[in-house]
């Protein structure tokens, strides 16, 4: 989800309800709110600096976890040994 940055001067520097806003932003980032989340998100990011910053940090964290976290290569023989064990147990 790519959200266009707007001039930060237009945003208020204090969030009215950090607990509710941040929880909402995190649910949206986790894909829990679907289409309804997008409208709310647009409004929050345009109007509130703390929400804006929190959203971008949380998004960056999710992105690096998804794209950079090193995958442990699966040992070659693992799948075969599982199939063998199943065969023997039948």
């Amino acid at each position: 989800m790519e959200i266009n940055d707007q001039a930060s001067g237009e945003r208020k520097l204090q969030c009215d309800d950090v607990n509710r806003c941040f929880q909402l932003l995190e649910s949206i980032l986790d894909g829990e709110l679907g289409e309804t989340g997008k409208e709310v998100l647009k409004e929050k990011l345009a109007k509130c600096q703390p929400c804006f910053e929190h959203y971008h940090l949380e998004q960056a964290i999710r992105d690096v976890l998804k794209t950079k976290c090193t995958k442990q290569p699966v040992p070659n023989e693992l799948a075969d040994s599982i199939r063998q064990m199943i065969k023997e147990s039948k």
Binding site: E26, D30, K66
Partner: protein, 199 residues
């Protein structure tokens, strides 16, 4: 297994489900196991054990439902019930302990992190990986499930046997702890972590 036994599959059906729906998840299963145990042999044992159980209890799996979530739940339970007992390394934080201390779904979102999105984006895979591995197992688990494997809150609730509200709050705490770890890296790398200054 608490699932209701629905019906009995024939041998052919069992093999088809096992090969078609269970085995394709072996990569994710092994990675989850490795991030829980930090040991190749233990991870292999855990995955093998999980697949053996999956086969033994295959009649309680409803075809067409989420096989990956079903397998992850078995793996997580095996890890808690069996593996953890014989584990050489005593874990610092126990699943039960965490439940007691952190079972509240009320989270204070007020906590401020002076970590910048830009410095997070610059981090290396190893730094991210190490930061994740440094978290206590409960917190590590929710991040693996949500961010590495893409499970929904609802699926995570089923895998972990906890309410959705607890999934949400635990995930929030986990990411905050991860941010603390990353902040340490950012500072040691000389990235700007001070929010007051602009690039």
């Amino acid at each position: 297994m608490s699932e209701v036994q629905r019906r009995k599959y024939s041998q052919e059906e069992k093999t088809a489900i096992f090969d078609g729906e269970f085995m394709p998840h072996i990569d994710s299963m092994y990675n989850f196991a490795f991030r829980l145990t930090f040991d190749e042999d233990d991870a292999k044992d855990l995955v093998q054990d999980t697949y053996m159980k999956a086969f033994r209890f295959i009649n309680s799996f409803e075809q067409g439902t989420n096989a990956k979530a079903w397998l992850f739940r078995i793996l997580k339970n095996s890890f808690i019930n069996e593996y953890r007992k014989k584990s050489k390394q005593p874990a610092k934080v126990d699943y039960q302990e965490v439940e007691t201390f952190y079972n509240s779904d009320d989270v204070d979102y007020q906590s401020t992190t002076d970590l910048r999105a830009e410095s997070v984006k610059d981090m290396l895979g190893d730094e991210i990986s190490n930061a994740l591995n440094a978290l206590a197992v409960d917190f590590r688990t929710v991040i693996i499930l949500a961010d590495l494997e893409g499970f929904t809150y609802e699926e995570m609730a089923k895998i972990l046997d906890i309410p959705i509200g607890t999934v949400r709050s635990r995930l929030h705490r986990a990411r905050n702890l991860l941010k603390d770890q990353l902040k340490g890296y950012a500072q040691s790398m000389g990235y700007n972590t001070d929010e007051e200054e602009e690039d």
